[in-house]
């Protein structure tokens, strides 16, 4: 039986004033395994700790119980003391005689009887304690940033400025993301590219950032501090090293296809850069549209290229990177308003989404910044905005508010009023939500400029001659409205990217019911995920505007930097453990683990029938946070939680019930 020493703390009169310490000592001395009991006035004081160290030496104690205050107060103190006394810190157990007893009970007999139980609980538990070692995991000082939009750019730059090497993976040919598609930004109306492009260039030229555009993450393995990421570099068909970005090839390409960047409102060649300020400024050949790739002849771009950079033979390459942390900034997509048949999206070219309007109003857009109806190429006389298309509508869209639409509609209305002062602008809304610095003022400015805000749902939009007819209701005055317009702009919701769930699976992080990635705690850990070492930034986590995305990116970067600033990481030793002999390999434990810390592995076992392989669960101590849900899910009792083992908890129950 292990030799247990028990140290009863008076805490001045805090404990000793209510608990009869001598009676307690007499009872404790009779407990099985207890070989030494002593009382101290203040056990946490230096002399108090020293007397424990002395008793450990003199009485050859193997386990220590400190009966004092709450372990939340002084467990660290006494664990550190254990280390200096040459005992494993986890061979200590505290009994909470102050917060849970002397401070809440008055009757000396009752409090003393309870104190006896509480100390017995600690004695019974500590007798079954095993020394636990915190593991050390080396940390790879490199970060992966997933996504090259404003959030990803900001995170990469912040990390790089900490001096941390960064790998930035972007799936499209250029950095920039959604922000590059925008014309102006609210509430300041500064030009989106003007503030974005310098950051893009900074990323491309930063010595600590390795930029991988036109690339996708194939798989992620490992755990915090030690991820292995496989990246697919899609074949660009243009040699990045040789290309000078002169643009000769672009104008010569005979193919014309709708431009993704312009959301189909403009065209591009088969060899193209998505937009003039693209970074890197290296074209890519879209093999589906390229005449050479589809028909085997053309090669015009190859002839046109003065640098000899065109390489039709290029193939996808897989590159592997080891990183210590991952920032996920994969952004959002816009809701497809086709679900709202009554708004005639697609049925009429003059019904467009908010993002499409951005391209229409942008000076780099298909119209060169002139606002013309896509159907007729005329300047609109009247424009109608419809808000909450796909937002706040559980039936056809999503239940949440997309948060940005109120402001960008105000912005777009202002831009319209500035460019076409005589154009009438109507905004149909459910509510106007303008919380944010200078936002309300910005919205009021739109109204002051003559934008008509009508509260109500639009019932129908339908073509009427070469204009559109809008049928709606003004719910404030309870009147039906019918009006004609040349252009209808739908403020469509922000939704997760279509591959969000796939990405979540690859990374082993959670996504909510909509597909936005889940943070570890909505209030206290807003940029962490449940998977240690993976952080979130931008609209991939939920609808956000630019300032919020940038702020979160900075937060994610500093969290990642804090992690990567260390050489190695101590893992918490209170983690789940598998008894492989008992494990049935059903992996029920893995299904309840919030951290993806449990996986399976094959082991070889000797049985009567000879050696066979069997599947067992295995815990990654780097990922496990020690909640113990798996231990309860395991019927065999093969999964256990170190420090809170089944046999320990049962012993505690037994001790309290004697």
């Amino acid at each position: 039986m292990k030799r247990v020493g028990v140290f009863l703390c008076w805490c001045g009169s805090n404990i000793a004033g209510v608990v009869d310490m001598d009676r307690l000592q007499a009872e404790v001395e009779r407990m099985p395994g207890v070989v030494h009991v002593e009382q101290n006035k203040y056990t946490c004081s230096d002399p108090g700790q020293e007397s424990i160290r002395r008793a450990i030496r003199e009485h050859r104690l193997q386990r220590v119980v400190v009966a004092a205050c709450s372990p939340r107060m002084h467990e660290r103190t006494f664990r550190a003391m254990m280390r200096t006394a040459g005992l494993n810190p986890y061979l200590l157990e505290m009994a909470n005689l102050r917060e849970h007893c002397s401070w809440v009970h008055r009757d000396i007999d009752e409090a003393t009887a309870k104190a006896v139980d509480l100390v017995r609980r600690a004695v019974f538990k500590v007798r079954l304690a095993r020394p636990l070692q915190s593991g050390k995991v080396p940390i790879t000082r490199r970060a992966l940033v997933l996504g090259g939009g404003i959030a990803g750019i900001q995170a990469a730059l912040d990390l790089a400025d900490f001096g941390i090497p960064v790998v930035l993976v972007e799936s499209s040919p250029s950095l920039g993301g959604r922000m590059a598609q925008l014309d102006k930004t609210f509430p300041t109306l500064d030009c989106s590219s003007c503030i974005l492009t310098p950051k893009m260039v900074e990323v491309a030229t930063h010595p600590s950032i390795r930029l991988l555009t036109y690339s996708e993450v194939e798989s992620v393995e490992g755990y915090v501090g030690n991820f292995k990421v496989l990246v697919r570099r899609k074949a660009r068909s243009v040699d990045e090293q040789r290309c000078t970005g002169c643009g000769e090839c672009l104008s010569k390409c005979p193919a014309k296809v709708p431009s993704e960047f312009d959301l189909g409102l403009g065209t591009r060649g088969a060899i193209y850069v998505p937009f003039p300020q693209a970074v890197p400024n290296v074209p890519v050949i879209d093999r589906q549209s390229c005449l050479y790739f589809t028909r085997g002849r053309c090669r015009i771009c190859q002839r046109a290229c003065p640098a000899g950079a065109i390489d039709y033979q290029q193939e996808d390459r897989l590159e592997s990177y080891e990183v210590g942390a991952i920032v996920v900034a994969t952004g959002y997509d816009q809701f497809d308003p086709a679900a709202y048949g009554e708004y005639a999206y697609r049925a009429s070219p003059n019904v467009i989404t908010g993002l499409e309007f951005e391209r229409l109003v942008s000076s780099t857009g298909p119209t060169g910044g002139r606002i013309l109806t896509p159907g007729g190429g005329r300047e609109p006389q009247r424009v109608v905005f419809i808000k909450c298309v796909g937002s706040r509508d559980e039936q056809r869209g999503a239940s949440y508010c997309s948060k940005t639409c109120c402001m960008y509609v105000a912005k777009q209305a202002i831009l319209l009023k500035e460019k076409l002062p005589r154009c009438e602008v109507y905004v149909f809304y459910m509510d106007v939500r303008a919380a944010g610095k200078d936002y309300e003022e910005f919205y009021l400015r739109a109204r002051e400029m003559g934008v008509q805000y009508v509260r109500g749902r639009v019932a129908r939009v339908f073509p009427h001659g070469d204009r559109l007819r809008i049928r709606a209701e003004d719910t404030l005055i309870g009147r039906r409205l019918e009006l004609e317009a040349d252009l209808v702009v739908l403020a469509s919701a922000m939704v997760p990217r279509p591959d969000a769930r796939q990405v979540a699976r690859k990374l082993g992080i959670a996504a909510n019911q909509h597909g936005f990635f889940s943070e570890a705690h909505p209030k206290l850990r807003p940029v962490e995920t449940h998977t240690a070492g993976i952080f979130l930034a931008g609209a991939a986590q939920g609808p956000k505007d630019i300032p919020d995305s940038v702020a979160q990116a900075g937060a994610a970067a500093s969290k990642a930097a804090a992690l990567l600033s260390r050489q190695e990481m101590e893992t918490e030793p209170v983690v789940a453990e598998v008894n492989e002999h008992w494990c049935s390999g059903c992996l029920r434990c893995a299904r309840v683990c919030p951290y993806n810390a449990i996986s399976e592995r094959e082991i070889r076992v000797r049985t009567a029938a000879g050696v066979r392989t069997k599947t067992v669960a295995t815990v990654n101590p780097g990922l496990c946070q020690g909640c113990g849900a798996c231990a309860v899910a395991c019927r065999d009792g093969a999964m256990n939680l170190a420090g809170f083992a089944d046999q320990q908890v049962l012993a505690e129950v037994d001790a309290l019930c004697l």
Partner: protein
């Protein structure tokens, strides 16, 4: 056969009077199943009583029982032996179970470690046997050399005769004392015992059976029988002669009791040793062990077969593993 003749109601009254102050353990039907349970006194049996699913074994060798109590005080342990017996009458015991008790008696009394707890309990027990007039569908006592009207360990034996009439005979000191208090004449009565439903396909005489089985220790027939064993303890716990037990401490924080409980060699962990090695790792070895112990090892050592043909394992094994099948398979029948 010389017996005292008595009417049923008189017999019950007499038994009740003699057993005054003792616990009465009688066959009782609980929801379709017969078992031996504590009741006020002896009862009349309905005609459908053949034998109980759970025999009287547990009243002599309980499913679990404390054998001592201990307490640690000041580094010393004090021990108090358990007093787990009450004077009792076990009534209505069939000859197969009586024979089994006789076997247990000799096993438990064997030197150098007689089982005092069992023996004490046994010494305070009066066994009232009941000869068989009808067999259940799985009985095979005569194949094992057990006779359905024999008294074996009984103190008193009851023979159901015609209608309400019973014959009673005594086979021990206590039995004779009790019988002396029964008014009635000793007379000769004709008793025709039941014929067991099954007769085993005996490959050899009972005397030669141990050797016959030993020669077939490595017979593939064992595997053909045991592959479907699910490793429960049903056969052993229902068996009137299985007596294996384990001992563990029930600790309540420095005080507690040492408890003896039934164990079964068919359970998977029965023969697993501390290091993890198990000499009987599969059902084949375990089923073989159980049958060999009964029909070969014990008879070879003690001259008595440890099976009394009660038929319980046949009737209740959920996978249909039983002695007749074993003998047939080892005898070379391909099935």
């Amino acid at each position: 056969m010389a017996v005292k003749l008595v009417r049923g109601s008189d017999m019950l009254r007499w038994l009740r009077r003699c057993g005054e102050g003792r616990r009465w353990v009688v066959p009782a039907k609980e929801d379709r199943h017969w078992l031996f349970a504590e009741r006020d006194g002896p009862v009349v049996f309905p005609p459908d009583y053949r034998n109980a699913t759970v025999g009287p074994k547990g009243w002599l060798l309980p499913r679990s029982e404390p054998i001592l109590y201990y307490r640690w005080t000041g580094g010393r342990v004090s021990v108090t032996p358990a007093q787990g017996w009450r004077p009792q009458v076990i009534y209505g015991v069939r000859p197969c179970d009586l024979k089994a008790i006789a076997l247990l008696d000799s096993i438990m009394a064997s030197e150098p470690w007689p089982e005092t707890q069992y023996l004490t309990r046994r010494a305070h027990t009066v066994l009232v046997g009941m000869a068989c007039t009808a067999a259940s569908s799985c009985c095979f006592c005569t194949s094992m050399g057990v006779h359905p009207a024999e008294s074996y360990a009984a103190d008193l034996m009851i023979y159901p005769l015609q209608g309400e009439e019973y014959g009673v005979a005594a086979f021990s000191e206590v039995g004779r004392e009790w019988l002396a208090q029964l008014e009635g004449e000793e007379a000769d009565a004709a008793f025709s015992p039941a014929v067991p439903a099954l007769s085993l396909p005996m490959p050899t005489s009972l005397e030669d059976l141990p050797g016959w089985l030993e020669r077939r220790f490595d017979d593939p027939g064992w595997q053909r029988l045991a592959w479907r064993c699910l490793s429960c303890g049903l056969c052993a716990y229902l068996c009137p002669t299985c007596y294996c037990y384990g001992i563990s401490d029930v600790d309540r924080g420095g005080a507690g009791r040492r408890v003896r409980w039934w164990d079964a060699c068919t359970l998977p962990d029965f023969s697993r040793m501390a290091g993890g090695h198990d000499p009987r790792p599969t059902t084949t070895e375990r089923v073989r062990q159980r049958i060999m112990h009964k029909l070969a090892y014990h008879p070879a050592r003690q001259g008595e077969i440890l099976c009394t043909g009660c038929g319980r394992c046949i009737e209740y094994c959920p996978m249909g593993i039983h002695l007749p099948a074993a003998l047939r398979l080892l005898g070379g029948d391909g099935r």
